[in-house]
Symmetry: C2
């Protein structure tokens, strides 16, 4: 009829409630034989634990820290504000989160932050940082301390992280290329703009982009990446120069998630009507630019899905429950003006 409970198991196995609990939670001090009896009874009855009742009894609190890059980024801001929203909403889920910003390019500072985290006061960590040997080591130490670790947006494939939530950057780059190739049908050159050529994501996107353009759109030539280090003045100079020297500019691919400088420049200057701009991440800046037809398409993470997924996965990891992979799988979203949310 209704779901079996620990009482039912106790009765079925002919032991007390406490013993059932000990067995089910793999606590020591139970004879082998008793354990077997209990397990047998449990799966004869098809028992599955009621997590919320358990959490109620335990007064469980999930304490998570999110480590995000500092510096001005509308994408990161979106992540953070979604996180705040979600965590106030998820107070019901017994989850408390704190957010920390770390300097992206300083592995030692990142490590220092991770060390200073107070592993006693924490159950899990979601982090969006570039993978370096130092970070890998720090992750290993955090794992040793028993924390659940989720890599966010940017994977740490060679670390001991438990899970990665984010899109495949190569595929994201390939998607950008597919759109660019189909939009820009006349022969021409594609300018690739980035703010940090050293970021793994930017690199991977670029790789994917080049693959597809080379294989399927031979009428397009991809120019070497130009890097602007988030500096609007520098960006302005570079664009000026490119627009003057390149007659055949067919498109601009902004690989980094920082687009403001590029967009400001484009907005201020006359440009050909058939210059196709593709950028990453849906932020206030790209939203506005898409609305105004200043850019043609945006390739993006679903920020809300990502954050809620991180929270769900961290909780699942803590309770070692199974993760609902199909749900957590991050999709590469494409936005045009017409399908803006």
């Amino acid at each position: 009829m209704s779901r079996p409970t620990v009482h039912d198991i106790a009765e079925e196995a002919g032991v007390s409630l406490a013993t059932v609990d000990r067995v089910l939670n793999e606590r020591p001090g139970v004879r082998r034989k008793t354990m077997d009896k209990v397990f047998a009874a449990a799966d004869r009855l098809g028992y599955v634990r009621d997590t919320s009742a358990a959490n109620l009894a335990k007064q469980r609190q999930y304490r998570f820290a999110f480590i995000l890059p500092d510096g001005p980024s509308q994408f990161v801001e979106a992540l953070e504000s979604t996180l705040n929203e979600a965590s106030s909403y998820h107070v019901a889920e017994r989850t408390v989160v704190e957010t920390l910003r770390v300097p992206q390019r300083d592995p030692h500072a990142i490590v220092r932050t991770l060390q200073g985290l107070g592993t006693e006061k924490l159950d899990g960590i979601a982090l969006m940082v570039p993978e370096t040997p130092q970070v890998r080591d720090a992750v290993a130490r955090l794992k040793d301390a028993g924390l659940a670790i989720v890599a966010l947006v940017s994977d740490l494939p060679n670390s001991r992280r438990d899970y990665f939530l984010g899109v495949n950057s190569v595929a994201a780059g390939r998607t950008a290329a597919q759109l660019m190739g189909r939009f820009a049908q006349k022969p021409g050159e594609i300018l690739v703009v980035t703010n940090s050529i050293h970021s793994r994501d930017s690199l991977e996107r670029r790789v994917g982009f080049d693959e597809v353009i080379a294989a399927e759109f031979p009428h397009l030539t991809v120019l070497p990446s130009v890097e602007a280090y988030d500096d609007p003045v520098r960006m302005g100079r570079i664009l000026e120069q490119v627009f003057n020297s390149r007659e055949q500019l067919a498109g601009i691919y902004s690989v980094g998630s920082g687009n403001s400088a590029l967009l400001d420049h484009l907005r201020r200057h006359e440009r050909q009507s058939d210059l196709h701009v593709i950028a990453h991440e849906l932020t206030p800046a790209t939203y506005r630019a898409l609305s105004n037809d200043e850019i043609a398409a945006v390739i993006a993470h679903n920020v809300g899905h990502l954050i809620r997924g991180a929270l769900r996965v961290l909780r699942a990891l803590c309770d070692d429950l199974l993760i609902y992979e199909a749900q957590e799988q991050a999709r590469i979203e494409i936005f045009l003006r017409e399908n803006l949310p």
Copy 2:
């Protein structure tokens, strides 16, 4: 420190637990004055109910029915299988669902099903059916019986449904048009194929599609919709005829979610290499066609998100909790070969 409980309120207000409960759950039989005391204490303390404890005490079960169209549709099958998956996973959430298929074109059969539902045994209903006066009436009766009602995929805007989960079909059509216009840059004609011209969604998509093509891509001409009534033979004949008579065919827009007949035909016949096909919904058929470059793009619902959203919204409605609109907002997804999941 930790969250205030009913005990805290009881103490603060100087009444018993039972009274606090009565007030908080708006049960009758409490003096005005006592109510005020309790409410005052509650929000002085910043009380928020612990839903899972409440559900535990109530032994609450959410019993939902999903009404989906019958007939062969990979999209509907995806919905149903996702629902089964989710509901087995959500046994933890005290939710049981049953699925019913109804004939899409027979309002009376739909109503009969809705009537025969046993409102006593149900807390809510999600339904994907065309809006007719009969359906509106049935929805009204179900609301009168106290059920939560969510429209799925296809809205019932003039009914008393509580919520709609699905994308805006006009916007979906506009999105398709934007892609079509940018992909098909040479002058030509667009064939619009549908399986049921009477469906509101198909109509709305077509409207959106035409708006954007007319406004932004004057080099394209959209032909009148051809309807195939899910009949592959008929579809074959129509396509044959179109391919022979139309020299300038630049694209095909499949507005209905049934694509198999079209895809089979395309696969069997030689076709121009620059014929751009755009379809709706990600199903095994469209997935395969996208992978093989037989179609250029798919506009889709996120089936998993939709189903989980319906479940969440129905639960929230039952407990009249607030709905997390930002999370539930269905997005119009775009798939190319490169960003297939």
